[in-house]
Amino acid sequence: MILKKSNTEDIPGTIIFNGTRAIKGYALNKMCFSFNSAENRDAYRRNEEAYCDKFELTGEQRQALKHRNVRELLEAGGNIYYLAKWAGIFGMNVQQIGAQQRGMTEEEFKEMLVRAGGD
């Protein structure tokens, strides 16, 4: 089957978590999935490097984790649903995650959301 253009075109500022990203991010996402367990979150807090070793993360993924940078983690194949579990370890909420990616303060980001309701 030939896919229609509308199914393959890029949507600006938006990530389509397709097979290519799933392959690239598998180890990172698998590690983040493990953070459903409090015991694993504690193990990560105690020794981040050792925990990353267990999942054989790439250098790019380790750097992005060190930078606590969601945009870099997405670029390294991370999926937002699993990354949210990692962000939870640091008490980051979805407004902070959004603001960080947008280069805004949390307040600016929240104001933008409120404005969207008024249009």
Binding site: I15, N18, N36, I80, A84, K85, Q101, M112, A116
Partner: protein, 295 residues
């Protein structure tokens, strides 16, 4: 025979669950949002469903990328919730209905929906938050449930048309169940929102309002959108509208809208709730479309 008594669609944002856990229903920030569910409670009190089929998307609690079913149907005696990693309190298990589950599974597969059956299935906030919203006074355990999970994590996702057809097949399965039970079909998720990428925080009120109208009166036109169209117009996570298509498909052609409410923002999301009732009863014409009747 069983009957589809109606459909409900509601957002499932985690922050709603946190607000419920902190008893903030009457807090000035939340009161308007929670008050919008009072007409839903009155409707449920009136129709008294015996079973809820809950169509939702798992966010990485039960399913991981190692095995990702497009459509998964619960077949358990109970469904447990568990730690999702970012602080929502774990709630008590929900009773299932294995007998109905297996009827549904048989019927869907006969109808050429090759679903994954799950005798163990953890349910995440996309299931638990709507249950708390819909049945707050009864500890969320008012009716047995059958959860159906739709993949919205790993692309490619099922198309809106496919989800609408799945809904039709679910409706046919319900209406061919021998016991005299009243079933409500619940869809969770949406409306527009986006968590990741440079467009994080994207909300499209115009498109949401169009969807709220079309899902009632012209769902088949709306179902012609592609998944990409939904991502573009409703945001990456606004694609959760797929669940609304399933619910609408389970209804008969004409529906009566009993209630809807729209609220921006809840967390990063344009939140909505809608209640639909069948205007016309299910007919043999609809049931005839089931392959089950021909085999």
């Amino acid at each position: 025979m069983a009957r589809v008594i109606g459909g409900i669609a509601t957002s499932h944002v985690p922050s709603i669950g946190k607000a419920i856990a902190r008893r903030l229903e009457n807090d000035p920030l939340w009161k308007r949002f929670f008050d919008a569910y009072k007409p839903v409670h009155e409707w449920l009190d009136g129709v008294q469903p015996d079973l809820a089929v809950v169509v939702y998307n798992d966010h990485g609690l039960n399913f991981f990328l190692d095995k990702m079913p497009t459509f998964a149907v619960g077949a358990a005696a109970e469904y447990k919730n568990a730690d999702e990693g970012w602080g929502l309190p774990v709630v008590a298990p929900y009773p299932g209905h294995p007998q109905f589950s297996w009827h549904l599974i048989e019927s869907l597969v006969a109808d050429e929906f090759d679903i994954t059956s799950c005798q163990e299935m953890l349910v995440d906030h996309a299931f638990t938050v709507p249950m708390s919203l819909l049945w707050p006074e009864r500890g969320c355990r008012a009716v047995p449930t059958v959860p159906i999970a739709i993949n919205t994590v790993q692309f490619p996702l099922p198309s809106p048309t496919r989800c609408y057809k799945l809904g039709r097949a679910i409706g046919r399965a319900i209406e061919s169940y021998k016991e005299d039970i009243r079933v409500v079909v619940v869809a969770t998720g949406g409306l527009s929102h986006q968590l990741d990428g440079d467009r994080a925080g994207y909300i499209n009120k115009k498109f949401d309002l169009l969807c709220l109208q079309k899902i009632v009166n012209d769902p088949e036109a709306l179902a012609r959108y592609s998944v990409h169209d939904l991502v573009r117009d409703a945001g990456a996570q606004g694609v959760e509208l797929l669940m609304w298509f399933v619910m609408r498909g389970a209804m008969t052609g004409q529906v009566t809208e009993k209630h809807h409410s729209y609220h921006v923002p809840i967390s990063n999301t344009a939140a909505a709730v809608m209640v639909l009732e069948n205007k016309t009863p299910w007919s043999e014409k609809w049931l005839d479309q089931s392959l089950m009747t021909r085999v």
